[in-house]
Each structure stands twice: as C-alpha cells, then as structure tokens.
Symmetry: C2
Subunit: 222 residues, 2 copies
C-alpha cells in the first residue's frame, strides 16, 4: 500500500513552477557561500511535501518544514524525559534535516508496506540534495540522516520519540482523523511506536495512557 | 504604517475554528508533561501567522514556523562564517522560538514604523504563551526571547543574521517582490540589516554584493 500519490502530484506541480521562477544566486563573489545558499533554496521544497496528519488549529495537512519545527521544539522542551544524556545540537540537527529526502522521494506513511523501497529512494534523494554542498558538509548531513534512520545511537533514539509523538498527539486531538482514514488500529500504533520506550520511559507511559483514552473515546479501535 | 491587518484577520478566523476543535490533552496522568504538550499545541498557531515574503518555490506567503525552520538550518550550515564562537544549541533555541510571540501580536514588518508598539504587544504575548509552562521553562524561554530581541550577546547577534538573510534572499530570487510592494529602497535595506556585519563579515560582504546586483537588475531602487 502506497499513500503518496497526492503529495507527489502536488510536488510535481509546485516544482515545475519553482523551476521557472528560480533565479540563480550565483553572483560570482563567494562560491562556497553561494553553493550553500542554493542548497537552502532547494530544500525549501519540503514546504510543499505534505504529511498525512493535519494541524492542531487548521483544517489542512501539515508540511514537512512545519513538522520539523514542531518536533525540534518538543525535543528542547522535553529533554528532561530522556533515559540517557544526549547532545542536543546533534538531536536538533537530525530533526531539522530528517525529512529533506522527501523532496524527491515523497512522504511515505509510517504504516505503509512500502517503507523499504522508500528508503532506497530516500538514499538517492539524500545523495542528490546534500550533494549540492561541498564534500565535508554533504558527508556530515548524510551521516546524521542515516544515523537518524538507523536509530542506534542515543541521539537517534531520542530524536525518533518526537517524530512519532507529534502525529500521535495530532491524531488524539483531531479525534483519530488519520487512524480512522487508514484503518489504523491500537495494536498497529503500539507496534510502530514502542521504540519510544527505549529513549523515554516517561513519554512512553504517557503515550500508552493517551492511547487507552483514545480507544475509550472511539478515536481508534483495539 | 502597520502591515498586519491581513494576518490578524486570518489569525482570528483560524483561532476560532481551532478553539472549537481543540481537545484537552489533560488525561490526569503526568501533569507537567501534559502542560508542556498543551504548550506545543498552542504554539502550533504560528503556522497560521504569515510573513511578507513568499516561498522560493510557490506563490504563497511563508508562515512563521516555516521561516524558523529555514533559518535554523541556515545557522547550522553557515556557522563557519561567524565572527566569534557561539553556543549553537542556544542559537537554534532562539531561532526556533523567536516568532512565537507573533501568535498574539501578529507579524510586524521589519520596515514598519510601529515596531516599538509591537514590542510591547509581543512582551504581553510572551508572558501569556510561555506562561503556559512551569516557571523554570517559562523564565528560560522569555530570557532567550528577550536576549534575541536585544541583540547584545554573540548568540543573539549571530541568530539575527539569519532572521535577516532569508528575506533578503527571498526578495532577490523573487525579483524584489516585497521591496517593490512596500517601496523599500536599497538604503532602507542597508540601514535595517547592517548589524549583520557585527556577527559575520563574510555574510555582510555577500549581502552588499547581492544588493548591488539587485539594483542592477531593477529589483530595488537606490
């Protein structure tokens, strides 16, 4: 099951407009800085990659840049709940850039069966997009993106908590909107999110209680 | 001159919808965490506060969350150009939260004559919004927000570079869209942005060259 047709259509449309409009900022003054700024212009495209969850206060889907902003603040605000000490600059860096690969690969729904293929496409995307930078910065960003995806280090585990906590909260507040739409069950949410416990016992306990309440209120089926 | 009528109208509309929809996440399990998450839900409203600049790849205005995401990545990517060493976790924290006060106070255009009144309204807004948190976190966020606004410490000076660099770049790429719309001149841009030099000689030199090119191309008048 692949859920990204809609976002790819939107993406394509926006990109072609973007390419027409996009001026070159190469003013032949400071080559390295200009390359870095072209990268900034390129990654702006995540503002047109839409997720499956809606905003808390508006009836529209959230885009990847907005999602990343929220989970960065969550990580800063909730660092006291980490099971271990983490380097916050690294956590925030991972969260800021983790979805940039979706510019080429599109958003893949957490519960999609297609996540393995998605990873291959995302790897190609990482090569192209971070490849706009000089080798040192390209390598650094690809390294922390892969580290985030592999979820083995403390920073990657802690970052992953917030990538998952935000949509759970959105679903709870919007009365199970995405869960209902895609027939997601309580058991599926537990299975895909249980790694939160490894990084934060307290947040996982809270998620379990929130999911119980969601079942009670009819937002999700057990 | 006040430029925020449009955003306040949008804001009002969205908030009233939000208030109807917004469920309470108080599940009486972990009071402190639930308070922190209510804060996260509240600050989501910045996703409906629109700036005067448009996105690089789409014909719509950028919202405050998207802007904050971009300038955080800029700060990480361009830290090598700082005139002094900075604590990056603090820089990023400032950039992530600096526009939250606009939820109540609205976006005030950099070139508006109303910026002093805006600061008073923003201070009230900071009290209310960060006041949703316990005292330690409230005090911390208000402290770094004020530090950012006062632009005296190295972190505040360096953060300010990116808050200004993004709209300059947007205007250059979109052929002076906001400059033309509000009759902003080259001299006004220099006056309002010259503090960039204090934090980064290299970025300021680049901005000067870019503005010269913008004059040449007819994007802004000298």
């Amino acid at each position: 099951m692949v859920y990204r047709a809609a976002c790819c259509l939107t993406g394509g449309f926006v990109y072609s407009k973007g390419e027409i409009k996009m001026a070159n900022i190469n003013i032949s003054f400071n080559e390295k800085l200009e390359k870095q700024l072209q990268f900034i212009v390129e990654i702006d495209k995540v503002k047109n990659i839409f997720r499956k969850s809606k905003l808390f206060h508006d009836d529209r889907f959230e885009n990847d840049a907005e999602h990343s902003w929220t989970i960065c603040i969550m990580a800063l605000l909730l660092k006291e709940y980490s099971n271990f000490s983490v380097n916050m600059e690294k956590v925030i860096s991972m969260l800021l850039i983790h979805d940039i690969v979706e510019i080429d690969a599109g958003d893949t729904f957490l519960y999609s069966e297609n996540r393995k293929n998605a990873y291959e496409e995302e790897t190609k995307s990482a090569e192209r997009i971070f490849g706009l930078l000089d080798k040192d910065q390209k390598d650094y960003f690809i390294k922390i993106w892969k580290e985030f995806e592999e979820r083995k280090t403390n920073e990657a585990k802690f970052s992953a908590v917030f990538d998952r906590l935000e949509p759970i909260l959105q679903n709870y507040i919007l009365e199970g909107y995405t869960w209902k739409k895609y027939n997601i069950t309580y058991e599926m949410v537990i299975e895909k999110n249980k790694h939160i416990k490894e990084a934060s016992e307290e947040i996982w306990e809270f998620v379990l209680k929130l999911l119980e309440k969601a079942v009670e209120k009819g937002y999700i089926k057990k």
